[in-house]
């Protein structure tokens, strides 16, 4: 890879060191920490790569990236979804300048928690933050809102435009690889970096990781799944040996890509599905609903509806916690009737 770099760009350093960029869009920052989770191996990364941009950890300038030749960056690890025009601009810029663009972590891959904002639109989100008294703006009597353009005596000031809908990275630009997880586990990050350095990457467009479910990695005892009642995690103290789903805890290992080593079920906590779906699944939530519904232990329509209503007060947040932006529907109906909008905004 670094050899290519030398041939293609005259400005590359003589030592054939690769160039690495890490960027943070709409996400919590956990992915940045996760990269540092590879511990002292980060020094090997610094040995192999010049870090040209990593706003969280190093001093790189966007303007310098803008001046680079196309494809000059060898690898870009991009975490976060696309919520603002600035993030979209950076995604386009880094796509153009990078040979390999990796959607790093659940937000870039599937939208993750920021993607649940797709249950609302810009106006509703701004109302919550600027009108209804959030921690950021406890008081805002004049109802001041961010504007994309503001005129001041010195000229026009710009803020990035805040989009109605959060998009995943691959809904915005072409993505070469996906590294799933919220955040990706340190050993998987290191394995991906090694694969990149050795040029042993899978076919472009693939998700770097296993292609089986978390249940396959889970050591709990499984018998037969027949569920009369679903419980929230705080309602029961689960048996440490038996399958959590069989005990009525919504555990998403049944539909979730393996790779984490069943970390959560191991500590008596249900899988919440952060690795997303396996290859070939178009809609994670649909797969989950399908599998889950089939183990409900009732043939009576009314009882079934009651079990679902009691067990899942927030259906979208439960089935699409990490993947709403990536799902087939992507977001809530913007033209939804008012009374439905009220009901569905209950989290």
């Amino acid at each position: 890879m670094s050899d290519n770099n030398n041939k293609k760009t005259e400005a590359a350093p003589a030592k054939a060191k690769g160039k690495l960029a890490v960027y943070w869009a709409a996400s919590c920052g956990g992915c940045e920490i996760a990269i540092l989770g590879i511990d002292d191996k980060i020094l090997n990364v610094a040995e192999a790569f010049d870090i040209v941009l990593w706003p969280c950890a190093t001093d790189g300038k966007v303007r310098d990236v803008e001046k680079m030749a196309d494809g000059e960056i060898d690898v870009c690890l991009f975490n976060g979804g696309i919520r603002t025009s600035e993030q979209e601009y950076m995604a386009q810029l880094l796509r153009k300048k990078s040979k390999v663009l990796v959607a790093f972590g659940s937000c870039a891959h599937e939208g993750c928690i920021p993607g649940l904002g797709n249950l609302n639109d810009r106006r509703q989100i701004f109302d919550t933050v600027y009108k209804e008294g959030s921690a950021t703006f406890p008081e805002n009597p004049e109802d001041v809102r961010p504007q994309a353009e503001t005129e001041v005596p010195e000229g026009t000031l710009h803020l990035p435009m805040f989009y109605n809908t959060l998009k995943t990275l691959d809904q915005t630009v072409k993505v070469d690889y996906y590294l799933p997880g919220c955040p990706p586990e340190a050993d998987k990050i290191w394995a991906a970096i090694v694969a990149i350095l050795e040029g042993k990457l899978p076919a472009p467009g693939s998700v770097i990781g296993s292609n089986t479910t978390v249940c396959d990695e889970c050591k709990r005892t499984r018998t037969e799944k027949k569920i009369k009642k679903f419980y929230r995690t705080w309602q029961i103290k689960p048996d440490p040996e038996q399958c959590l789903l069989e005990q009525g805890l919504p555990c998403w290992g049944i539909a979730t890509r393996a790779g984490c080593g069943a970390l959560c079920p191991q500590v008596n906590s249900p899988c919440i599905g952060c690795h997303g779906a396996n290859d070939g699944v178009e809609d994670y939530g649909a797969r989950l609903m399908s599998a889950l519904a089939s183990v409900i232990d009732s043939d009576d329509p009314e009882e079934i509806q009651q079990i679902i209503a009691d067990g899942f007060p927030d259906t979208v947040g439960t089935f699409y916690r990490f993947s709403l932006a990536k799902s087939l529907l992507r977001r809530k109906n913007q033209a939804a009737p008012a009374e439905m909008a009220e009901n569905a905004s209950v989290k």
Binding site: K61, S294, N333
Partner: protein, 165 residues
């Protein structure tokens, strides 16, 4: 689109053993039903993954019908009970996504019930006609300001981030 010219697009998933035969029967008995439904034959209503319904809606269908054998009469013993559970699970999710419940309907129609299937199709079409177009594709398009906002960023970087000699 005005209400008078709106013709709902309906996708119907009909099971091979009962409901599809009911549609056949409706045809041979010359029972008329609304032409809005595009019928897809599946081996069992239990084969209808919720993603089929989501895909239909996301690609422009205004409504979806799932039809199968009556409970207890499934050719595959009890698979239509799974259909029933999946249907209710899906409906709860669709409602939270702002999709009216009447747009997706589950119908049990045996091979002898051509009349029932035809009237169920007509009912679904009329229900959806009242609700109007769903128009899902494009639900996530941003408004026209987006492109200008993107151009502004590039321009500003050129002006403000350039170090003058």
């Amino acid at each position: 689109m005005s209400e008078s010219t709106f013709e709902p697009k309906i996708v119907g998933f009909l099971c091979n053993w009962c409901s599809y035969r009911a549609a056949d029967l409706a045809g041979s008995a010359r029972i008329k039903y609304a032409p809005n439904v595009r019928i897809i034959r599946v081996m069992c209503s239990g084969r209808v993954d919720p993603s089929f319904v989501l895909k239909a809606l996301s690609m422009g269908a205004d409504g979806v019908m799932i039809a199968g054998c009556h409970p207890g009469e499934c050719h595959y013993v009890d698979q239509n009970y799974k259909t029933m559970r999946r249907y209710h699970m899906l409906k709860a999710t669709l409602e939270a996504m702002g999709i009216e419940p009447d747009r997706v309907q589950l119908v049990w129609a045996s091979a002898a019930e051509g009349e029932l299937l035809a009237s169920s199709i007509n009912k679904l079409v009329e229900d959806v006609r009242k609700l109007g177009p769903l128009n899902w594709p494009g639900n996530w398009e941003e408004d026209g300001e987006r492109l200008k906002a993107l151009e502004d960023i590039a321009k500003e970087h050129e002006e403000a981030m350039e170090v003058q000699p």
